[in-house]
């Protein structure tokens, strides 16, 4: 009893060491947060002033309500990200069900083709995509940007991994009762797979929110900019206003950190299960 209660000294020491290494990992974030709340002249003061001596909360209001319509950029990001996530989850879940639970002709060959496209770097097809988007009038539209990220190989692969774990008995039993595949999909499989679907939804949300390449190539108008594009432009145009640039950067990653902390169990499990990377 006594032995069980006693803390393992070795383990405590290792935990402390790992904590120190972890702090090294967090340092850039802490530095960013602290710089965003400082007066401009203190940003680079050394030794580093981790806790601002003079809290400048108005750095944030200067970014948010300054010359740049940050609220609009934020709204654009939310709109594109939410719609992409909804569409991508739907497309991937349907495909994952088809590829794991329906025995149709040519299934494995088609799945292999989908998987093989993973090898193609997005940058290799930018020129043809750009041409197509011009022709189809999708260039410089949010719709174009949403479609671009909605057909995810990784999403389909990840959800198929999860769906494969459902016993075929459930599906056969439902079939005996005369249920169609579509009914089985949304009445049996989707409710059972809510955690898996949430995992992919969170990942897709994070990847889309962070996407810089898509907006960089396929958007031109300033009023359609997403937050990533806006932050980058803001940092190039603001020159030496580092505290404001940091306030902008914190604003760009904060929603994600919050979503990640709330959904971290799902995210980490999903990554571990599917070995996916955005």
């Amino acid at each position: 009893m006594n032995r069980l209660r006693r803390l393992n000294t070795k383990k405590v020491i290792i935990t402390i060491i790992m904590f120190a290494i972890g702090l090294l990992f967090l340092m850039p974030f802490i530095w960013m947060l602290s710089a965003s709340l400082k007066a401009e002249t203190n940003v680079f003061s050394y030794p580093i002033e981790w806790i601002p001596s003079d809290w400048k909360w108005d750095n944030y209001s200067r970014v948010w309500f300054g010359e740049q319509p940050f609220i609009l950029y934020y709204w654009n990001s939310i709109k594109v990200t939410v719609l992409t996530t909804l569409l991508s989850v739907t497309v991937s879940a349907l495909a994952a069900y088809g590829f794991s639970k329906i025995h149709f002709k040519g299934r494995n060959a088609l799945f292999l083709i989908v998987l093989a496209t993973f090898l193609i770097p997005a940058q290799a097809i930018l020129v043809p995509q750009f041409m197509m988007y011009r022709v189809l009038n999708l260039f410089d539209t949010h719709l174009g940007l949403i479609l671009l990220n909605s057909f995810s190989v990784l999403g389909t692969f990840l959800l198929r991994q999860f769906f494969s774990s459902i016993q075929d008995d459930y599906i056969d039993a439902a079939k005996m009762d005369g249920a169609s595949h579509f009914t089985i999909f949304y009445k049996v499989v989707v409710p059972m797979m809510i955690p898996a679907i949430s995992t992919y939804a969170i990942l897709r949300f994070i990847w889309t929110w962070n996407d810089y390449q898509g907006p960089l190539i396929f958007l031109r108008s300033d009023h359609l900019s997403t937050i990533q594009l806006a932050i980058e432009r803001f940092s190039t145009s603001s020159g030496e206003l580092y505290s404001l640039i940091m306030a902008g950067s914190v604003s760009a990653i904060l929603p994600l950190i919050i979503i990640f902390i709330i959904g971290q169990k799902y995210v980490i499990e999903g990554i571990a299960r599917g070995g996916v990377k955005g």
Binding site: M18, L26, W31, V91, L94, I113, L119, V127, M132, V267
Partner: protein, 315 residues
């Protein structure tokens, strides 16, 4: 006789019916299957498969984007010949090879962290979250912060180096000899979290009794790591290596925001150079040739690893 014939006829009839029913369920099953995968297949075909064939076709032309496609001429392998003599392109390939080195480095660090976190710490979940933070953060924000951290004159990294007595610290991103090193440091920092999570998942699958048996034999921690952990994790290691190398070729956003390939072409990578040719110099034909070459390289590298895995991966 007659009775028998009737029975046979009856039997063959039901067989036909059964076959018919079987055919119709088979048809229904196929149809349902195609309907479910159709959105994904159509999207992939339109947005990825057709474009890759267009890129292949364009790579044999001298098309320049601002002039219409009508003005493009077929030039055969001319673009590919230009490429092998194009200094910045070659430099970009070499830089990509250096970036590949970040992959095993990241994996080694992640493996050590994973082994330690798996058994020897309290608050395991907390550590997973910390190491994972860079992975979920936007590359744009990360690049902007590191531009400041690496600032040659006032950046905290150099202030620290000078305070411990290094008088001439490197100029990092501003110095063509150090810029790529800085990119590699940032890449390792952002990708450890992902590798760590995958390794932790791999560690869960190693049966405990192997370690218990080794304990009975009096094996040291190092021997257990070398003879049990490493070989049994080899499928995970293979997975991380193969995807890590593919991703190292795809690293674009970090370069665009952090360095724009500079100073000079010291941090340019193939995808960045491709982007520059396509969207700044508008040489669509040449950029497509680079794209096809890149895809070819990825296919070859993946095939080599796939064949090589038999030698060192234990399933």
């Amino acid at each position: 006789m007659a009775k028998n014939e009737a029975t046979t006829a009856y039997q063959s009839n039901t067989k036909k019916q059964q076959l018919g029913r079987f055919k119709s369920t088979k048809f229904k099953e196929n149809f349902a299957g195609y309907m479910f995968v159709a959105p994904m297949l159509i999207g992939t075909t339109v947005l990825i498969i057709i474009p890759i064939f267009i890129a292949l076709a364009v790579s044999f032309t001298d098309w320049v984007f601002i002039s219409g496609f009508q003005s493009a001429d077929f030039v055969g392998l001319e673009n590919f010949k230009t490429m092998v003599q194009d200094e910045p392109f070659i430099q970009s390939v070499v830089n990509n090879i250096w970036l590949i080195l970040a992959v095993p480095l990241t994996m080694a660090l992640s493996l050590v962290l994973a082994v330690v976190i798996n058994k020897n710490v309290y608050f395991k979940g907390f550590f997973k979250v910390i190491y994972f933070m860079p992975y979920i953060s936007s590359i744009v924000a990360i690049a902007i912060v590191f531009q400041l951290l690496f600032h040659p004159a006032y950046g905290p990294i150099n202030e620290f180096l000078m305070s411990i007595g290094i008088d001439n610290p490197p100029k990092w991103l501003a110095d063509s000899d150090w810029a790529l090193v800085s990119v590699i440091i940032i890449t390792v920092w952002t990708s450890i979290g992902f590798n760590l999570i995958i390794y932790l998942a791999g560690l869960q699958n190693i049966p405990m009794d192997l370690y218990e048996a080794a304990d009975i034999d009096g094996a040291s921690a190092w021997v257990k790591f070398k003879n049990i952990t490493v070989p049994l994790l080899s499928p995970t290691t293979f997975f991380l290596l193969i995807t890590g190398i593919i991703y190292s070729f795809k690293s674009f956003e970090l370069i665009v925001v952090l360095t724009e390939g500079g100073p000079g072409y010291s941090t340019s990578v193939i995808v960045y150079y491709l982007y520059e040719q396509a969207f700044e110099n508008l040489k669509s034909g040449y950029a497509s040739a680079i794209a096809i070459t890149l895809l070819g390289m990825l296919l070859v590298i993946t095939a080599i690893q796939w064949i090589g895995q038999k030698k060192w991966v234990n399933y």
